[in-house]
């Protein structure tokens, strides 16, 4: 968190410079159904799970 605050002082991107940042591949959302499948697969075959968000369905993969 400290690192990010130090770095954020260096740049102040103006609204008119945000054309690339607005592109879908530059956001952190992504294809919901794709992420849904992928995260479900990995979390049912590995011990760890989550990280990007809270609030998805519970997993029956005890």
């Amino acid at each position: 968190m400290m690192i990010m605050y130090g770095l954020s002082g260096c740049s102040s991107v103006q609204p008119w410079e945000k054309q690339n940042l607005a592109k879908p591949e530059m956001t952190f959302e992504g294809d919901r159904l794709d992420t849904g499948y992928t995260e479900h697969i990995y979390s049912s075959k590995e011990a760890s799970s989550g990280g990007a968000g809270v609030g998805g369905g519970g997993c029956g993969c005890n």
């Binding site: 794709d34 990995y42 760890s48 609030g55 369905g57 519970g58």
Partner: protein
């Protein structure tokens, strides 16, 4: 409409300055127009998944353990509708059917009846989210459910974001509650765990994150998630398997997206650190590169490396089991918790994938994705793996179609 009068004395220079000054004063600001707003278009999409996994006995110690395991076919739908510029509603629905089975312990002990394994036959799940957009933030209320023959989960969540004036920094805060019910009365539940009283589990999780614009072509996000779970964590179909009744998890995730102007591509990198009270620590590294191509094509190759350590109570394959895989290794005498589930052992995994999508015109988009992952006991960096666990392979193909409106 008022006419702005200009005094005729000292005309030339005064008029010019005054005219432009008045004109400028009357200009509205586009900044207000670019407040956090609901998306302009709604979207409907569907995606089909075909998943298959298998284990391979390709070492001396695991020879003879090769076996196809599980196959899943799933279909999911998603719809998102913006409402009145300030709201949006999104819903997801998925149905998947599972055939095949998982081992009862380590890489052995597959049930004779292979059509009903640890994950149940048919699963339905869905979620509904309602988002309200404010000038500098959003608030999302969500509910979710998941239902299989032996398992039911209900959840609700609240997530909010708040941005600074420049929108270069966004804070997120989220909380979720999940309530799970596990049916312990079914025929293939291990005898010692059979019960008419279902197992229950309550999980609460909270998230705090910061998203920061670093440059015109760079954006970064860091998120910390804490989860506290209470209830039934053991696996009803695995034996021997008795797990703690509580599990607390900590996850730190950081992501970075970088856009390359020249080739018009974007690199997306992420790292996740995970640790929990089962004693497990894990690292996940993800990298993908999105490349836009002419005529609406887009290709995204991806790589993933994962490593996890073993749970404190994981029991590795012992000498007796190496000699005769039909008998599981007994847990250490007096151990309160124990499990021989390979998902709690130490291992590393490499995945590679490729996704191709095409804009079909008239707001239609089609995509295909293939991903393959291999887990090996000696590929991890979190401690010694269990050589008695065979190599595990999984692959998945997704085919999707979506339309904006």
């Amino acid at each position: 409409m008022e006419y702005v009068p200009i005094k005729s004395s000292n005309r030339k220079s005064r008029v010019v300055g005054a005219l432009f000054a008045s004109a400028a004063m009357l200009l509205p600001s586009a900044k207000n127009a670019m407040a956090d707003a609901a998306p302009e278009q709604g979207i409907v999409s569907m995606k089909y998944l075909n998943y298959h996994d298998s284990q391979k006995g390709d070492t001396d110690l695991t020879a003879g353990m090769s076996k196809d395991r599980m196959t899943v076919n799933a279909l999911s739908f998603m719809g998102m509708v913006p409402i009145a510029g300030k709201w949006s509603v999104a819903a997801t629905f998925i149905e998947d059917s599972v055939t095949g089975a998982s081992p009862a312990y380590h890489g052995s002990g597959f049930p004779a009846n292979t059509s009903s394994g640890a994950s149940g036959d048919l699963r339905h799940a869905g979620d509904l989210n309602v988002t309200r957009y404010f000038s500098r933030g959003t608030l999302t209320l969500g509910t979710s459910y998941s239902q299989e023959s032996d398992y039911k989960s209900l959840g609700c969540s609240l997530n909010g974001t708040l941005s600074t004036e420049s929108k270069n920094t966004t804070f997120s805060l989220g909380a979720a509650y999940n309530n799970d019910t596990i049916d312990l009365s079914r025929p293939n539940v291990v005898d010692s765990k059979k019960s008419d009283t279902p197992g229950k589990k309550r999980v609460v999780s909270g998230l705090f994150g910061v998203t920061q614009v670093m440059s015109q072509n760079d954006i970064m996000q860091m998120t910390v998630t804490l989860t506290d779970g209470d209830g039934y964590y053991s696996d009803p179909y695995k034996n021997p398997d008795v797990r703690p009744g509580k599990r607390r998890m900590f996850t730190f995730m950081s992501r970075w997206n970088h856009h390359f102007d020249g080739p018009n591509g974007t690199a997306r990198l992420s790292y996740r650190y995970y640790t929990d009270t089962f004693g497990i620590k894990a690292h996940t590294f993800d990298a993908e590169y999105v490349q836009l191509l002419p005529k609406g094509w887009e290709i995204t190759p991806s790589l993933r490396y994962y490593s996890q350590g073993a749970a404190d109570f994981y029991v590795p394959v012992g000498d007796a089991e190496f000699a005769d895989p039909t008998h599981f290794t007994p847990p250490p005498a007096g151990a309160k918790h124990y499990s021989e589930d390979q998902r709690l052992s130490a291992f590393g995994a490499f995945s590679y994938g490729i996704k191709v999508s095409k804009d079909l015109g008239r707001s239609w988009l089609a995509d295909v994705k293939y991903e393959h992952c291999e887990q090996r006991y000696n590929w991890g960096i979190n401690g010694k793996g269990d050589p008695g666990i065979p190599t595990f392979n999984m692959s998945a193909i997704q085919v999707g179609l979506s339309r904006k409106f």
